[in-house]
């Protein structure tokens, strides 16, 4: 009995590893906007170096991004973003480790746009939170484009907005993600 269990266990992992199908990119995009409606200038940044990998078999998905590679419209915003808010020397990376729950609904061999439910742990500014969001997966040949839009409360990640800039900097950031993965 014990042996059977163990064999089954080994076999399943073995097969998963053998037939694992990975999709990957290092040039995914994240755009965020944290501007209040009253702000005269837009507080938004973009990162074009998002690393992202997806296992289409298990639905496991991982994102990773270097905070210092966020670009801004103004040099000073870059400095403040890194120094005062994200503390990128202390917390150089943000990441997400999660799973596409409905991975079985997505057919990676058939072109089309599929809805995806994602759940997992997002770490920003050294704080990890469990999140669940929805997005789309557009399959086209050997590529899969992941898209998602969601918002993040800065307070949840211990990023404080001082009163002094509260009329410009929103307490909640909208995050848009677009990542074009290719089959490995």
């Amino acid at each position: 009995m014990k042996k059977i269990f163990l064999t089954v266990c080994f076999l399943t992992t073995g097969t998963t590893a053998m037939f694992a199908q990975k999709y990957m990119t290092r040039t995914g995009k994240i755009f965020f906007n944290a501007t209040t409606p009253s702000s005269p200038e837009k507080i938004e940044g973009v990162n074009n170096e998002v690393a992202n990998i997806l296992d289409t078999k298990t639905g496991d998905i991982v994102f990773q991004v270097l905070i210092k590679s966020f670009k801004f419209e103004k040099e000073l915003m870059t400095e403040h973003f890194n120094e005062n808010y994200m503390e990128s020397d202390k917390f150089p990376k943000s990441d997400f480790r999660g799973i596409i729950i409905n991975i079985n609904d997505i057919n990676f061999t058939k072109d089309g746009i599929y809805n995806a439910k994602v759940s997992g742990k997002m770490t920003i500014h050294g704080v990890t939170n469990q999140i669940s969001e929805t997005g789309t997966v557009s399959v086209k040949g050997n590529t899969a484009i992941l898209k998602a839009k969601f918002s993040v409360k800065l307070h949840d990640y211990k990023i404080e907005v001082p009163n002094l800039v509260a009329d410009k900097l929103s307490k909640e950031a909208t995050i848009v993600l677009e990542s074009e993965l290719t089959k490995k």
Partner: protein, 311 residues
């Protein structure tokens, strides 16, 4: 019972596997990744000046900095002059970052009707792993534009009498998030000094630093010690080494620097060698610098993505 143990064993196995899966994916991402760029340390100081003198900070490329510096009269002038507030001098300046390692600036000071210009070049950048300090060169020239003095017949007043030059090497290290220190070996050349008794060159070593007390507030200090020519007189008065303490307050696009200093002069040549007030006599000046930056050329790399999904 045995089954339960087995089942729990199995589940724990599955759980570790699932956990290991996201870890191994993360490892795959890290494996092929380009090696971390040699991480340059940023924001050693909040502003391009520590108090009176230059810090190793440069403006970003395409950034314009409008600076107003104010030094009030001596605090010990008493109520008659409202503790110095009646006798203020000002410098108005415009600095511009040409590249991320080269900035230039122009300014005009009320004191001595002085025009000055400077250039600051970043030579080495402190790195997280590697270069232990940042090094810059700062050079400035100043022109006094007060009217030429009445000279005895036959003597000629040369335009070059109005010129002063300063060369500095700035060496700074950000020791931690909070603490940064800077040393600045300096030479000031005075084309005209009070008397032939004094050298035209003053060698000095400056030391400055900051301690951040919060994310947006830092306490600063700056001291210029003259190695040679310390006995130089200026307008017949003895001169002292410039000592300043201050506070930096950052508010979004502005940096306010408040300070108490024994120097009323704002140009390099005047505070390093021509400070005629002394801390021990209480002849101190309260002052502030206000800096407001404007983005003239937008940094490369920021391009808002276009398309419906980005709206």
């Amino acid at each position: 019972m045995r089954k339960i143990i087995l089942l729990s064993f199995l589940f724990s196995g599955v759980f570790t596997l699932a956990h290991a899966q996201s870890d191994s994916l993360m490892d795959m991402l890290n494996e092929g990744a380009a090696p971390m760029k040699k991480d340059a340390v940023s924001a050693t100081f909040k502003a391009t000046r520590i108090i009176n003198g230059s810090s190793v900070e440069n403006l970003g490329a395409g950034t314009l900095d409008f600076r107003i510096s104010h030094r009030f009269g001596q605090l010990n002038q008493g109520a008659q002059n409202f503790f110095g507030l009646d006798n203020a001098t000002t410098r108005i300046g415009l600095d511009y970052g040409i590249t991320k390692w080269l900035m230039i600036g122009l300014g005009h000071s009320v004191l001595n009707k002085e025009d000055d210009g400077f250039a600051k070049i970043k030579l080495l950048r402190q790195q997280k792993y590697g270069m232990p300090f940042t090094m810059s060169y700062a050079g400035s020239v100043s022109i006094q534009t007060t009217p030429a003095p009445q000279l005895p017949a036959g003597d000629k007043w040369l335009f070059t009498n109005n010129l002063y030059y300063t060369h500095q090497v700035l060496i700074a290290r950000k020791f931690s998030d909070r603490i940064s220190l800077q040393l600045m070996p300096t030479v000031v050349h005075y084309n005209l000094v009070d008397s032939t008794k004094f050298s035209n060159n003053t060698f000095a070593i400056g030391a400055g630093g900051r301690i951040k007390v919060s994310k947006r507030i830092a306490v600063t200090g700056e001291y210029y010690y003259r190695i040679t020519n310390a006995n130089m007189q200026y307008n017949g008065q003895p001169t002292y080494n410039a000592v300043s303490i201050g506070v930096d307050i950052e508010t979004g696009g502005h940096v306010f620097q408040l300070m108490v200093t024994n120097s009323q002069g704002l140009s390099d040549r005047s505070f390093i060698g021509q400070t005629t007030d002394s801390w021990t006599k209480g002849a101190l000046h309260f002052g502030f610098n206000i800096s407001r930056v404007f983005t003239v050329v937008k940094p490369k790399g920021f391009k808002k993505p276009v398309g419906k999904s980005w709206e």
